[in-house]
């Protein structure tokens, strides 16, 4: 049961949230201009990082805000949360091994 830090409401249990997958995948400005390959990249291709990973969560049963979480997908350690449009927090020194 992850303990997720909503930038507004503070730490709440995972069950209050909805997962939104990999963060920072912006919808293309003008999809019409894209090749099928490029469109497929946006639609389907993911980095699926092993280690520290920026992902989106929605506080669906709380303040209904979308935000980003920087989390280690191996240890599940959460480095921090940040609002849409902000930059991920710095990696902790402890962050060795998994990138």
């Amino acid at each position: 049961m992850l303990n997720i830090d909503c930038p507004w409401c503070g730490k709440r249990h995972e069950t209050e949230f909805r997962y939104g997958g990999e963060a920072h995948i912006a919808r293309p400005e003008d999809p019409a201009k894209l090749e099928d390959t490029e469109w497929a990249e946006f639609l389907f291709m993911r980095t699926n990082t092993k280690g520290y990973f920026a992902e989106r969560w929605l506080h669906s049963h709380g303040c209904r805000r979308w935000f980003n979480v920087f989390r280690n997908t191996v240890t599940h350690e959460i480095v921090g949360s940040y609002k849409m449009g902000e930059k991920p927090p710095k990696l902790p020194k402890s962050a060795g091994g998994t990138k």
């Binding site: 409401c9 709440r12 069950t15």
Partner: protein, 189 residues
């Protein structure tokens, strides 16, 4: 309230059998307001219309004369009170004219349960994963979470007295759940 003369509160059918410490409150005005808290003109307009300084601190309630405002999200509040919802909506619409905002009379959208007494904290511990211990959640605090498996607003109105706002369609589920949560203590007392 004229607007409520035909009203039947959603959990009325089961509320009569609620144990001590649990009641469904009679209908009251609930008006949902959205706007930009950063925008001074919005905040002042709301202040003039309602006399309330909308809480900008998450999960806090601010009380005015007729209404109180519960923080729901950075740009959303629920105004609750005994006054006329329709009038409140009019006043807000008037005061906010020309601004970007949204106001909705949601008086029927949620029903309100009052949970009180020596075992209200136990009932909450059985129903919610959130920490409602007095050290961290005080009177005047409110938050949105799950009660059992239904979304709800929980407000502590005073020590050992909570108001739980539940979407009308979930009201019987939550009402019955809370009643059951208290049952074991009725047995004990």
């Amino acid at each position: 309230m004229a607007e409520t003369e035909f009203w039947i509160t959603p959990a009325a059918a089961i509320a009569s059998a609620f144990p001590d410490g649990l009641t469904e409150l009679s209908p009251r005005a609930q008006v949902n307001l959205r706007g930009d808290a950063e925008d001074a003109s919005f905040m002042t307009a709301v202040k003039t219309a309602t006399g309330i300084d909308l809480p900008e601190t998450p999960n806090k309630a601010a009380t005015g004369k007729e209404f109180k405002a519960l923080w729901l999200s950075p740009d959303e509040w629920l105004l609750v009170g005994e006054g006329e919802a329709a009038t409140l909506v009019q006043n807000l619409e008037g005061a906010l004219k020309g601004q970007h905002f949204a106001v909705n009379n949601l008086s029927a959208n949620r029903t309100i349960f009052e949970l009180s007494g020596p075992h209200c904290h136990h009932a909450l511990m059985k129903s919610s994963e959130v920490d409602f211990h007095p050290r961290v959640f005080a009177p005047g605090d409110c938050l949105q979470t799950l009660i059992a498996k239904a979304q709800a607003i929980v407000e502590q109105v005073e020590e050992d007295r909570f108001h739980i706002y539940v979407r009308s369609s979930f009201s019987r589920y939550v009402g019955a759940w809370l009643a059951e949560a208290l049952a074991e203590y009725r047995l004990a007392d």
